[in-house]
Symmetry: C2
Subunit: 360 residues, 2 copies
């Protein structure tokens, strides 16, 4: 058991002394050992081992200006967030990928606009190399705070606040909300449905808006009477889905299909349909979005839905950020990049996939 020096942790100096080399050479070995002859590499390695040397992070950061930490900004507008399986999966993906890049995850939990100052100070303080944030609500002031801090940031979900796509290009990772919605509705069309309604998500979230667009795309393609479609407003919760479904049945008793902007609302819709004696999918076909697996599978009937790879999106957020930071960790293999040639790291749109179950 090579007990380290009593008390203080050994410095690179100590390692160098023990190995009989200069601090510079010891440093080289510790950082990979490029350009150092074998015997010296081994001597230094042994000294490191024996002394139990661990590099001082602060000293290293001071000179390299890199601290190997990434902030994950979690705003909690509603009270869910953490227990939301969506976030859990995304954070898991982020955590895994960050680990692969040897970077740490600093969690910035924002509970309200009162925290903005603290966040801005922290981000501006150079504690982290970059940040990951989620574009939740467009009317939120947080994006502005983040932008002002001038820390390289990648967003989860397409940001929708004023001037986003226009002036400053904000890299983000999102799934193909519009395409996924289009596919969902096309599927309903292919089933011969002609009165297809939509339960939309909150209007201040781009994902909800994009899904509405996809719904409209498909309706136009199908030339199913056209018109603005039949849309009821929800807010991504089960109850709102139920309410919206009830409203739709009121407005259009003859509807034969519903595309809900997420699985939670779809499950609420299913409940109402069941209560009103409509058979799914015979009378009304239902498609959701997200494929929250345990939920979608346990619906009655199991929910046909649009799957997005949430954990993968988390990982992509990290990769994108690392690219922005000029990290050369070429993971090669997968090339999901949006812009193949461009040097400036653009955003990434991940594909979605329709998962057919019993509801449509």
């Amino acid at each position: 058991m090579p007990e380290p020096t009593p008390g203080a942790r050994p410095t690179l100096e100590a390692v160098a002394a023990r190995a009989g080399v200069s601090r510079a050479t010891a440093s080289r070995v510790v950082n990979g050992g490029a350009g150092v002859r074998r015997p010296l590499v081994e001597k230094v390695s042994r000294a490191v081992e024996e002394l139990g040397y661990v590099p001082n992070h602060a000293a290293r950061t001071l000179v390299t200006r890199r601290n190997g930490a990434i902030a994950v900004i979690i705003a909690e507008p509603e009270f869910r967030v953490f227990s939301d399986p969506f976030f859990e999966q995304q954070v898991r993906g982020i955590s895994r990928e960050l680990t692969a890049h040897d970077a740490q995850l600093v969690l910035l939990w924002v509970e309200g606009s009162g925290d903005y100052d603290r966040i801005a100070r922290y981000l501006g303080g150079g504690h982290v190399d970059g940040a990951l944030a989620f574009s939740l609500h467009n009317d939120d002031g947080l994006p502005a705070v983040i932008a002002r801090a001038k820390v390289p940031t990648v967003f989860g979900g397409r940001p929708g606040w004023p001037g986003a796509g226009a002036g400053q290009q904000v890299p983000y990772v999102d799934c193909d909300n519009r395409g996924g919605a289009r596919e969902a509705v096309r599927h309903l069309v292919s089933l011969g449905r002609t009165r297809i309604a939509h339960i939309a998500g909150p209007r201040d979230q781009t994902s909800a808006l994009d899904r509405i667009d996809g719904y409209r795309d498909a309706l136009l393609d199908a030339a199913t009477g056209g018109g603005p479609g039949l849309i009821a407003q929800g807010d991504f919760t089960v109850d709102s889905g139920a309410r919206a479904m009830a409203e739709l049945l009121e407005r259009a008793p003859d509807l034969d299909a519903v595309f809900a902007a997420n699985d939670l609302m779809a499950s609420g819709a299913l409940r109402v349909l069941r209560e009103r004696g409509r058979r799914v999918p015979q009378d009304v076909a239902v498609v959701g979005f997200d494929d929250m697996t345990p939920l979608a599978e346990s619906c009655d009937p199991p929910l046909t839905t649009v799957r997005q790879d949430i954990e993968g999106m988390g990982r992509l957020m990290v990769r994108l950020l690392m690219r922005v930071l000029g990290d050369g960790t070429g993971t090669g293999a997968d090339e999901n990049a949006d812009e193949p040639g461009a040097g400036a790291p653009g955003s990434v749109i991940t594909p979605t996939r329709l998962v057919r179950r019993a509801s449509a």
Copy 2:
């Protein structure tokens, strides 16, 4: 708009120069300004403002040996954890208290023993001042890894691994599991119940063991026939509670009360009792543990349970850690400390409270 110097961030040197003072004085002002005369304080403050100066964290850490960050180690033996409302609440409490102490939360997500090395390296690398961990399973190797890193650590939940209480005193925060269980069972006794069964949690978790002890305590007190009690094994999941309940009904058809070691299992038990035609609480009274509010309230009938202040425990973990770290932030006010006199920061046991609803 006082635009900061182009490119690089201003250093203390720059602030000092602009304010016409020495670096030392500028530093004093930045750190609270004790012992600096008013006019100078103002001059420096203005310079800070104008230059948009933000202290370089790495440089500061390098000399002070404090980095204002705490690791929160989350091991994920099962696949839940994050979406577990228990953890969410505890992490929320931790986050809030950490913010109050101006400390950052570094999330260390452990997915398996393969991560131990990484964790050890990180903890040993002095990136954080301290750590918070949760004692999940006693057979887990993680506690040993943490102990070896010699980073001040506070545990959530009484650690139960070999040599814990004995050799090294590990500070922890836990609720009064035994007392709470005792109170729950006493309540059942006071209701005139004589055949009281227990659905226990996993045997490798101290909380489960302590609750069993509390159950036995109360039975002994009541001298209700004595004996080892009627215990069925569960694992804190709803299904296990249901299975345990079925088993209990088999073994003791005449039981008239059940104390489940958590609310999840209690809800499973309620389901089985309902299925078997036993009325709650008339035929069988049921008490749970945790008071997971939405769940306990929405049970049928609403669950009588033992409440613990989970978020508060998270905050206490941070306070305890700060005390270990010698942080002088005397929040005064509340004095939940276990050991009033002792200088060595002991552990904290938070009180529990029986919440009466309809099930008992």
